[in-house]
Amino acid sequence: MSELVRQQWLIPLFPLAAAAIQSLLKRPARKLSATICIGAMGISCVLTLRALFATFGFGRGGEHYEVERVIWNFTWFSFGNTSLSLGFILDPLTAGMAAMVAFVSFWIFVNATGYMSSDENFTRFFCFLSLFGASMLGLVVSNNLLLLFMCWELVGLCSYLLIGFWYFKPSAAAAMKKAFITTRVGDIGFFLGILLLYWQSGTLSLYTPEGTGALQQAGKLATLTGWWGLSMAGTIAFLLFIGAMGKSAQFPLHVWLPDAMEGPTPVSALIHAATMVAAGVFMVGRMYPLFTAQSHDWVMTFVMWIGCFTAVFSATIAVAQFDIKRVLAYSTCSQLGYMVMGLGAGSLVAGQFHLLTHAFFKALLFLGSGCVIIGTHHEQDMRKMGGLRKYMPITFWCYLIGTLALCGIPPFAGFFSKDEILLATYYRSPWAWGLGTFAAFLTAFYMTRQIFLVFFGPWRGGRPEAHPHSQLAEAHGELDVPHGEAHGGEVHLHAHAPHEIPWNMWLPLVVLSAFALFMGWLGTPWLGGNLFHHYLAPEEAVPQHSDFVLWLSIGVGLFGIVLGWLVYGRKPLQNALDDDPLALTTPVMFTVLNRKWYIDELYEVTIIHFTTAGATFFRLVDKLLVDGCLHAIAWIAWGLSQLFRWGGDELVINGGFDASCESVRLGGKVLAKLQSGRVQDYFRVLSLGFAILLLIYFFA
């Protein structure tokens, strides 16, 4: 067991090495690059599965029944008496998450080979993907907040790079900056939390064998007084949650996630649905002992309400979007809100279970949308789709499974995990439960709307009858054009019909569909107890089963679907320029939702405006005050130097020196006259001297 945890570092190592190799590859080395990337992730996947199977015995009967987790810490470096240690952990939370990340990433990479097949920067894309996989896996297996934070930032960096992969598009460049800066706001809180934790507990290792790890001191921290009326543990938890809000796109830091859809669709599937945005939720789960250390802190309530509000808020926006990926993006926000709500309601199991199931079916939906986008020649506006059921049957059925899973219809995966969250919330706060149920209804409604807009009704994108034959070949010919410009919501009416996608794109859909279908059964209470609950946190209390919650959640799901069919299914849009039926009945509301509650505009006029005004003001201060002082000092210095130059240097020093030189020169001139060069002159002087000597001799 301890050997296995010592090999945990191998899990992120392989994708990291792959990224390093790929960064050296040349552009045409497409196949090699994809092979390295997928191969490395495959090895990591095998390693995580091995770790996952090893943890099945943890915490309950069997060989390792007393073991809750195994850890391995090592010293990174020492300075003075302090040493900084890093470490890896193997416990059910890590093993489950790592297996999910590696597995989903693997299939998304496979799909990406198809989606990116005509992009000229193929190797760069896969290099970033590998780097992302390495950082995410490193984040999951680390037993140390410092290591976790490093990987956390690396993940943010990869997100930045991949959102802006088509950086020549201004919207992508803006989106990448927005994502980076918005999550940075949350990271300030995260970093403060880390510092506070280090200050209070003296270590950043989460667990140590001696029991001195930061999380093992949670009970002690709960007895100390922190700030804002919280215990110390609550304060740290609150700050850490700020970081999670940024990364997991919780209100009010959710604005970056929808814009992040500027990236290629596999990136949206990988980072902005399945794994990276889940890092915030995972981190909260990882630091859960701090959150639950003291029951009467308001932190948990705060977490629950933030999640609840985000779930409803984003779901309402998703109803009125036209971009196929934006609907899914707001849906992701909403589902992340669900997870956070479950965690805040005190159920680690529910939150983490929904994280895992959601990763599978949301990756499925995003990959499906990617297939639709490829199949319709880079069309993202749902109004210009329609009727794709006939053209792309595989995609349709997989997409339908993902949708039903997301809507929470039994027996699909989302039903079980969402129901658990609602159940946990029901006992904690009926109001939050009510809102959560409403969000479930909205989810079912907007997903049904999407299904009907995309897959039913007539094809509104072009004239499929015009080219009944050889559509596939022409479509591929068309794709050879560098297609970066073809993205981003511009109107591109193609004469070609949509086509089904190649096998390397639909195979991942099928695999993920299987998980979306069956994975929920791990968490069902009907098969001899909740297996996932038993595995992850056997000590956590099981909320009492409630038929009311169960049937209501199924009911609202079905109601949402039926309503969606009534609005969008009965009379499908005939023309791409038709108004949305919802916009006809409630135009004001629809516009507000379509503009996302004007949150971006609100930030524009408040925070951004304020920041800009402040920047302008300080620029003026800089110009007038700081520069003024500097210029005054410069003028004074210049004046003084002039004074010294003319008064001191030129007059006294140079003048004196010149005068003395002149006198020496004059003396030299006079004396040089004596040396006439004529021998007789010397002789005369000699004789004169001789005569004088004689006179002195005779007369003195």
Binding site: L671, K673, Q675, S676, Q680, R684
Partner: protein, 103 residues
Amino acid sequence: MNVPLSNYLMLSAFLFAIGLCGALSRKNAIIVLMGIEIMFNAGILNLIAFWHYKLFVAPTAQMFAIFAISIAAAESAVGLALVIAVYRHYKSVDMDEMKSLQG
């Protein structure tokens, strides 16, 4: 006939004065050389006169006189050679022309 020593010394002083005047006043380098030779001979005459009146015991004065005469001969040879060299350079033997060592 008893000629007193002072007569010899007077003659010698006279000769020296003539030589000095010639060496100082004439422009021609050869005449200057001749003046120097005359001053030499005045000195030698002094030596011999002192020796004749037994002011020296040893024959030192005779030896000095012979040394001085031979050295004067060598000196005038060197002097004349210099004058010829100077003449080749300046095309003149005027002492006032030779002032290239002027300071």
